[in-house]
Symmetry: C2
Subunit: 474 residues, 2 copies
Amino acid sequence: MFSKMKERKMAEKLDVRTLQRNYEDYGEKEVTVGGWVRSIRNSKNFSFMVLNDGSFFTPVQVVFSADKLANYEEISHQNVGAAVWVTGLVTLTPEMKQPFEIQATEIEVEGPSTPDYPLQKKRHTLEYLRTLPHLRARTNTFEAAFRVRSVAAYAIHKFFQERDFVYTHTPILTSSDAEGAGEMFQATTLDLKDVPVDEKGNVDFTQDFYGKPVNLTVSGQLQGETFAQAFKKIYTFGPTFRAENSNTTRHAAEFWMIEPEIAFADLEDAMELAEAMLKYVIAYVMEHCPEEIAFFNSFVDKGLIDRLNHVVRSDFGRISYTDAVAELEKHNDEFEYKVFWGCDLQTEHERYLTEKIFKRPVFVTDYPKEIKAFYMKLNEDGRTVAAVDCLVPEIGEIIGGSQREDDYDKLLSRIRENGMDESTYGYYLDLRKYGSTRHAGFGLGFERLVMYLTGIANIRDVLPFPRTVGNCEL
Amino acid sequence: MFSKMKERKMAEKLDVRTLQRNYEDYGEKEVTVGGWVRSIRNSKNFSFMVLNDGSFFTPVQVVFSADKLANYEEISHQNVGAAVWVTGLVTLTPEMKQPFEIQATEIEVEGPSTPDYPLQKKRHTLEYLRTLPHLRARTNTFEAAFRVRSVAAYAIHKFFQERDFVYTHTPILTSSDAEGAGEMFQATTLDLKDVPVDEKGNVDFTQDFYGKPVNLTVSGQLQGETFAQAFKKIYTFGPTFRAENSNTTRHAAEFWMIEPEIAFADLEDAMELAEAMLKYVIAYVMEHCPEEIAFFNSFVDKGLIDRLNHVVRSDFGRISYTDAVAELEKHNDEFEYKVFWGCDLQTEHERYLTEKIFKRPVFVTDYPKEIKAFYMKLNEDGRTVAAVDCLVPEIGEIIGGSQREDDYDKLLSRIRENGMDESTYGYYLDLRKYGSTRHAGFGLGFERLVMYLTGIANIRDVLPFPRTVGNCEL
């Protein structure tokens, strides 16, 4: 890049990624690399600099000396974090830990750093780094986490696009409450200091931007279904919101979700799709981020690589909720919350099923209708619905889905039973009137997936700018 | 798909896409296709059905007759929009307009439709179809538009990921006003009927979800820059919001934006990136959606294919704002708004430049600082900034970008000059303190791009669920 440098330098300009991946091709050649100083270690008349530009996990070692650099003093006293351009000879060092180094012939400061730079070479806690959302991506753990996040996001697009799914941007602002899924944020242009009221004393939303109350979406599923009934196979991938006052390591108020929806398809088809997708994304990230995954396996979660390989190689198990409850009841003495038919499964139960009973990922299907959403297809038994949760070791639920109720009358009954506002769901009922099809889909919380891929335990550390109750920095 | 069908049928189940792309391989073979009835034309004892499943633009023709189908009466009286499963022999018809048809041996109704189905075979106006956001994707124009949208989105990811850019999810909810770019939506969990106030009579935001006022983002650029200073090359692709009370064919309140940001790079690098990206996406969509583009070229915008090819083959022009103004002033008699140095260029000027003067896309650079944002790099002349707009024929501006001010003191002055709240920009100033680099980036409105790719003139028709002032359906 940088065109002025192009004019001046004859050396080939490279990203660290290109150099690291192909260093053997550059042996004894002159190259130019721009990057940030991770550390400088000075000996008498020569120094070592660890340099990275963020394009690759492994940094480059630069050797520079007073006899080659006129500005040796200036460079050897740069602070950690300084941005520099290094030109020098790539020297292969097969006997050393790092297979090559750059012997600098010229180093130029692009932008210095100050001694108060908060990321010194010592190891910082993740908690401390959370207070530096604008800088923490420059540390090993976050650099690795956010690159895995990027590559995983691409793997998801690639998986669906190669299968001709239509990527559908369902709206963020919505006038329909997707499923009563939880507390919502309201979006408004009204002046909160002086909210207009009508003659009855209610908020006068005719003066708001949309002329009515509007919320931030909790799920794109219902709108996604309208597109699945046109394109057969669609997926969403976008931000969703929950204004829940919960302060856990697994919940954020703003997070990204993937929601595929397939028509002419049933619950079994949705499970096959979910299994194929998870395996694809895991395999893709392991192939494209080997350095990052190795780092997480060494420093964050020792069992990570084994676990990921195990998921890719396993056939996922299948069990009905009813059978799962029967199995779990045998171990009720081991649980804090006792299991019984009709209960919502807790994480401890989910993990027991997948870790102890199945020892691999498992789909649990056909839950009691009382604990599931109104749009799920009622089974013939009249008491369960065609829901599915996918449970994985160490996490529990990672995917939740269902076949959707495709019968107009049954759906209408469920809407009424749940005391929901029928008029809001006219569009959704229409889908059951005009060429209704058996159809199914699921939701995957993207951050849960990234946590699973990295072993990172706190959702705040896989979100570039985490939003949780009381926290909205930048 | 659909597993119960799998058990019963021996015929291979196919998407319409697979069949259309490979019909020669299926000659005289039996296949099963699920889809929706676009039309049925009945003759005596036999009928033609046009069937599509939304996986491909071109539908399939099905022939069925009373002597082969026991349920001929039922099928021949299906309404438009009905969902059916068709099994039959693929018969090649090289002498006909469509190169093959399916001669049905079995047709099963998956879900009927009713006679009041709003999408009858006749042509509907786009305005009317906007009143049916849950159904319009089933019509030719919208099916084509939303598939192009999906494929273009993927092309963007593919372009950046192949160049090792890190996809960065900048936040939707933000406590910083990105650039004073426009009116914003506020997100809150306060009860609007009873907004709490503190002792001074101000809104008591300590009771709001985040403990402070929070808005929907207008741009991810500033947060994106923090990641570019870690990863060197990043891009965002997500929803952004403007609560502007404007009712035009080119503005929506919720839209998707792509914002790449590159470090160790200057304005020239950003222009090279923008040009490569536009050409890549256009070429990718033309290659992967030839049927859709041909449809738009025939029915929406006769010059479309020529124009797109022209962009792919052109070297984009370059001109400074100052020189552009000098050129345009010669034609001031042709403009509604007269051009002078210091004025903001209007669409009529932009189009004149790209259509009449350059006859190809053109980058206009180095605008007066007064008409551009605070973060743009001040040029050495002290009166212009390193800004760039990319103008394309028929549209005008499609991309806006700049090199960013990387000097701490100059940036601080600009923040103060603009009367902005300095304390909010501490994180942004830090980037100029700790290893500052020359860096640049740009923003591409995704809907503008889809309009350009399809010739569709109204932004409401390229957004799956358009949000504009007074409109937020579903």
